[in-house]
Structure formats: structure tokens, C-alpha cells
């Protein structure tokens, strides 16, 4: 067991990680923040410190808000290690990361995982064709390189982020040929009982209606209750050329140069699965959550999770849960009394509950359609190893009870992405096929390295004193 290098190690410099770093520093903890990205911001405030004023204006005030947080973070006195990919964490909370192709370890009595979310996979026929991307990816291109799809874009799916990306693309001068809305008819009815609570968050509801209004005024065609969505290759081009689907009983086909998929965001549980902490299945969001207490602590003592990596609640909630987890860490290392921590956490908890009011409504309204899981047998589920939904179902018929068995028989989930893109789908297809709850079917076992690292990088661990890390910041 190695010695402690810091009081608190934070993985991720999104709103949750940055806010936790600021709060922990205020309580006098020594903090190191590791993030794979070259600059702070996470997904929501990606490159906010670098974006041109024109791009920042176009992305809106909710994006620009991140600048002030990034400034507080830069001034917090936390040790910042951008470009550090965390690839292993031991049960004693030793964190191993790689920066500039050299690995190094840090260890603290408290670890905060603020590694965020990813977009829900959208396994649809043709979704591997070049030109088919996630909607969030189009937003990342706007943030990191001030670029947008060239030609006609078609958006497929549903959810607040889909609407936001559509509006941002329009403002940036993009051409949207249509929105293929996959929200099933039943979702509205299911969301209705949650509307009164959502009315307690009028600003958020107004923002949503505003986005719908923007799209309507721009004359963007919206195809409702779309089903049987397929991406088609443009003849011999090796890329997507059209999207076909049925909407309200009619078969439709839209020409497209780029197709943007989105079915909500889900916690990226790769790190928490590696640590084998307890997870719960959320039926409404179709994803796993690491189980955490009121201070963000998981079933592994000292290990906390905050932000969208714990539960999807958005950027402002991530900032709050990051601060609360940092206060919990300060108490645990003896720098803060419990009573004082409760007082300091009060305003953050109030913000959390304000931000959560609208969630049950959004979750019900934008619940991914069941047909995404009951997809045609020839749909590729595992993009890396090219395993189809039919093969997974066949393995279930042959007696496979969980994702680790199907992995063994088919390599499903064993490709370079390590099951990030197929894990949720495989769990749900198996659950459906064997008639059990996803919570019983379970998830892939995740092992280090979380991403491929070279032997040369690992060798650096043996001689830590000889490494001069590139300067932080």
C-alpha cells in the first residue's frame, strides 16, 4: 500500500469536479484533480475557457456560466493535472493515471469520482455508417472546433439535449432537414402525473417550450412517434445518405448528410464498476447508478461519486453534488465538524432539490422507446465486435444468464470500447429474453486498464522518481 499523496483525489474537471475542488480547498484539504481533457469544463462547459466570444454567444448563457466556475477552480489552489487519463483504481484508492504517455499514481484517504455521463446508445440499423453520430458529438464539435455538420442534418431520438443541440445548430447556421422524434405515444400520459412537480421549476419548463418554439418558427419538420428507424447508405459512398422511418402510420425517407442520434444521457459507470461498488438499476432512465449516500459516498468507504456520474440531474445539480461530496470528504479527514458541514451543505441541497423537481417529468416524457431494446435481430448491438441483437437473444435461449457469459461466447463487449457502447443494451436484451429484471441480469465486469495503455507507460510506475511530469495547468 502506497503512502497518501493528497487529502482528496478528484477524477473529472466538469462542474462536479471543479466545484468539489473549490469547496475542498476552502476547507484546507490538499487536492489533486485528474482529467483526460486538456482544459477544464467537462462535457457541458467543454473548452469554455478557450471558446471565441462568438461561439460562446451562440451556445448561450448556460454555457458561458461555466467560465466563472472554471476561474474559481483555476484560483482554488488545487493541483490540476489536465491530460491525465485515469486507467486503474485499486481498492485502497490508489489511482493510476497516464499523462503524456507516462503512468503515475496518487493516493488519498478520500476519492471523488466526477467522471460524468455519456449518451445513451441508440442501436438502430445502420448506426455504424460514417456520418451517423451522437447529437452531443455535434455539440462537442461546436465547442472544441467551432464547426458544424456540412449539409443536411437529421436528428433522431428525443430529450432536452436533442432540442438544445438542434437550436444551437440552427443558430450556428446549420441546416436541419428534420427531427425524427422517437418518443412513444404513451410517454406523454406517463409524464402527466409528474407535471405539477415540474411546474415548480418554471424556468426550466419555459426553456424547453422556448426551444420547441424556436424549432417551430424555423420551420424544422418534426416527425412524431417515429418507429422502425433505419440509416441508409448513399449508394457506394460508404457513408449515410438517408434516414427512413414510419411516423404516424406513414413510411418516410429523409435525405441526410449527417444523422445525429440521441436518446438521453446515462452515468458512465466504467470507473465505479471497476471499483465493484454497489449499483442500482433505474427503470425510468434505463441505466445503472452507483448507490450513494447523502454525502455522495459509495459502498466503498472513502470513495464518493458526484455529478452526472452518480445520477443524471444536469450541470447546476452536478456543481451542487460536487460541493456536498467535498464537504463530506472534509468531515471524513477531520477538517470539518459534522454540524458545520450540514450548514454549509444547506444551500447546495436546496439547489439540488430545485434542480431535481423537473426530473421525473423529463424521465417519463423522454423515456427511450421499448423498441430500441426490442430491435430487429440484425441490428448491431456491439459495434466493436459486431455482435447483433439476434446473437444475444440466441445466447439467452442457449442458457446465457448474464452479460459476462455472452461476452465469453461471442466477444460481445470485449472490443476496444470495453462494453461502454453495448453494455446497457445487452443487459436489457438479456433481461427481456430470460424474463428477469435488469438488476438481476447484471452488468459487464470491468477490469483495468480502463483504456489501452502502452507497456512503456506502465514501466514508468516502477521508477516514479525519474519521471518529470509535464507542468500542471
Amino acid at each position: 500500500m502506497s503512502a497518501y499523496t493528497h487529502d482528496l483525489v478528484i477524477i473529472g474537471a466538469g462542474p462536479a469536479g471543479m466545484s468539489a475542488a473549490v469547496t475542498a480547498r476552502q476547507q484546507g484539504l490538499s487536492v489533486v484533480v485528474l482529467d483526460e481533457q486538456p482544459r477544464p469544463g467537462g462535457q457541458v462547459y467543454r473548452d469554455v475557457t478557450k471558446a471565441s466570444p462568438a461561439v460562446a454567444r451562440l451556445l448561450g448563457p448556460a454555457y458561458r456560466y461555466g467560465n466563472a466556475l472554471a476561474r474559481r477552480y483555476a484560483d482554488s489552489g488545487a493541483e490540476v493535472r489536465p491530460g491525465s487519463l485515469v486507467w486503474d483504481i485499486a481498492q485502497d484508492l490508489t489511482v493510476t493515471a497516464q499523462q503524456a504517455n507516462l503512468s503515475f499514481s496518487v493516493r488519498a484517504p478520500q476519492l471523488l469520482i466526477a467522471s460524468g455521463a455519456m449518451e445513451h446508445p441508440s442501436p438502430l440499423p445502420g448506426w455504424t455508417l460514417p456520418g451517423v453520430m451522437n447529437a452531443g458529438a455535434a455539440q462537442i464539435a461546436m465547442k472544441t472546433s467551432a464547426s458544424i455538420p456540412d449539409g443536411r442534418a437529421v436528428l433522431v431520438g428525443g430529450g432536452p439535449l436533442l432540442l438544445l443541440v438542434a437550436c444551437q445548430l440552427l443558430r450556428a447556421g446549420g441546416r436541419i432537414a428534420g427531427i425524427v422524434d422517437t418518443m412513444p405515444a404513451g410517454n406523454r400520459g406517463a409524464a402527466l402525473p409528474h407535471l405539477p412537480a415540474a411546474l415548480g421549476a418554471p424556468a426550466m419548463l419555459a426553456k424547453g417550450l422556448g426551444m420547441l418554439g424556436t424549432l417551430w418558427r424555423a420551420g424544422v419538420p418534426v416527425f412524431r412517434r417515429a418507429e422502425d428507424v433505419r440509416m441508409e447508405e448513399a449508394d457506394g459512398s460508404r457513408r449515410v445518405g438517408a434516414v427512413s422511418f414510419s411516423s404516424e402510420g406513414r413510411r418516410q425517407r429523409l435525405d441526410a448528410d449527417v444523422v445525429l442520434l440521441h436518446h438521453g444521457v446515462v452515468p458512465n459507470t466504467q470507473i465505479t464498476r471497476l471499483l465493484r461498488v454497489a449499483h442500482q438499476w433505474s427503470d425510468s432512465q434505463g441505466c445503472w447508478h452507483p448507490a450513494v449516500d447523502a454525502w455522495g459516498e459509495t459502498s466503498l468507504p472513502g470513495c464518493r461519486v458526484a455529478g452526472d456520474g452518480a445520477a443524471i440531474a444536469g450541470a447546476l445539480a452536478a456543481e451542487a453534488s460536487g460541493a456536498i461530496a467535498a464537504l463530506g470528504a472534509a468531515v471524513a479527514v477531520g477538517r470539518l465538524e459534522t454540524g458545520k458541514a450540514a450548514t454549509l451543505a444547506g444551500p447546495w441541497r436546496a439547489r439540488l432539490s430545485r434542480q431535481s423537481r423537473i426530473r421525473p417529468f423529463l424521465d417519463a416524457l423522454y423515456r427511450p422507446p421499448a423498441w430500441l431494446i426490442d430491435c430487429a435481430d440484425d441490428t448491431l448491438v456491439c459495434r466493436c465486435e459486431e455482435v447483433t441483437a439476434g446473437q444475444v437473444r440466441e445466447m439467452a435461449r442457449l442458457g446465457c444468464q448474464g452479460p459476462n457469459q455472452t461476452k465469453f461466447f461471442s466477444r460481445c463487449g470485449m472490443g476496444p470500447c470495453q462494453g461502454r457502447m453495448c453494455g446497457l443494451t445487452v443487459t436489457q436484451i438479456l433481461a427481456r429474453s430470460v424474463g428477469r429484471d435488469p438488476a438481476d441480469v447484471g452488468a459487464y465486469r470491468i477490469r483495468a486498464p480502463l483504456k489501452p495503455v502502452t507497456l512503456g507507460s506502465v514501466a514508468a510506475l516502477a521508477e516514479p522518481d525519474r519521471i518529470t511530469l509535464p507542468p500542471a495547468g
Binding site: A54, R420, V453
Partner: protein
């Protein structure tokens, strides 16, 4: 497949020269390699080892591994997770063997 939001502003930005399969191109500095490849229309980035199907970036945030290319002789680099650098040598992986490099 991608274009600048404001092409006039884009022309004023600092650029770096990168080489895509030996072809030199100037791209805006300070961006991920993947978005530069999208803007250069250098697609597909690779063909799969299993069926030889063409692939290109899906997530741009490091989770899908569809954007793997060779960078300065290193195979299977996630092009969405590295920034363009002056003189960077990029090779698309045509029919590459299974992604290796794991310890």
C-alpha cells in the same frame, strides 16, 4: 463532412500543418484531431477487423473508440482525445488488425 461556423473568422485563426496518409493539410490549431479529420472529410477513418465495415467518429468524447487512427507511429489512438500538433503524422487504419496495445 463538417464546416466552420464562420468561415471568415476561421481563416484568421492560427493553423498547424498535419499529414493525413502523407497528404499535408493546414487545420485550425487547438482542436481535437477527430474534428480536423471530419472537416477534411477524411472518412472513413478505418475499416473494422471483423467485417471490414467503414467507421467514423460517433461520440467525440472518448467512449466509442470508433475514431482510432495511427498518430506518429502509434496505433489505435483515439483521435477525439488528442489535439492537432504541428507536423503530426496521421494514418487511417485500413483493415487494421484487432485493436491491441493493451497491457
Amino acid at each position: 463532412m463538417f464546416k466552420p461556423i464562420d468561415s471568415r473568422a476561421a481563416r484568421q485563426l492560427p493553423t498547424v500543418a498535419i499529414h493525413i496518409d502523407g497528404r499535408a493539410v493546414r487545420v485550425a490549431a487547438g482542436q481535437p484531431l477527430a474534428t480536423a479529420l471530419l472537416a477534411e472529410d477524411a472518412l472513413p477513418l478505418r475499416y473494422t477487423a471483423v467485417s471490414g465495415a467503414p467507421r467514423a467518429p460517433l461520440c467525440l468524447m472518448g467512449v466509442c473508440f470508433e475514431c482510432l487512427v495511427e498518430v506518429d507511429g502509434r496505433r489505435n489512438v483515439q483521435s477525439c482525445m488528442v489535439e492537432v500538433r504541428e507536423g503530426m503524422q496521421v494514418r487511417r487504419l485500413n483493415g487494421a488488425p484487432r485493436a491491441g496495445g493493451m497491457v
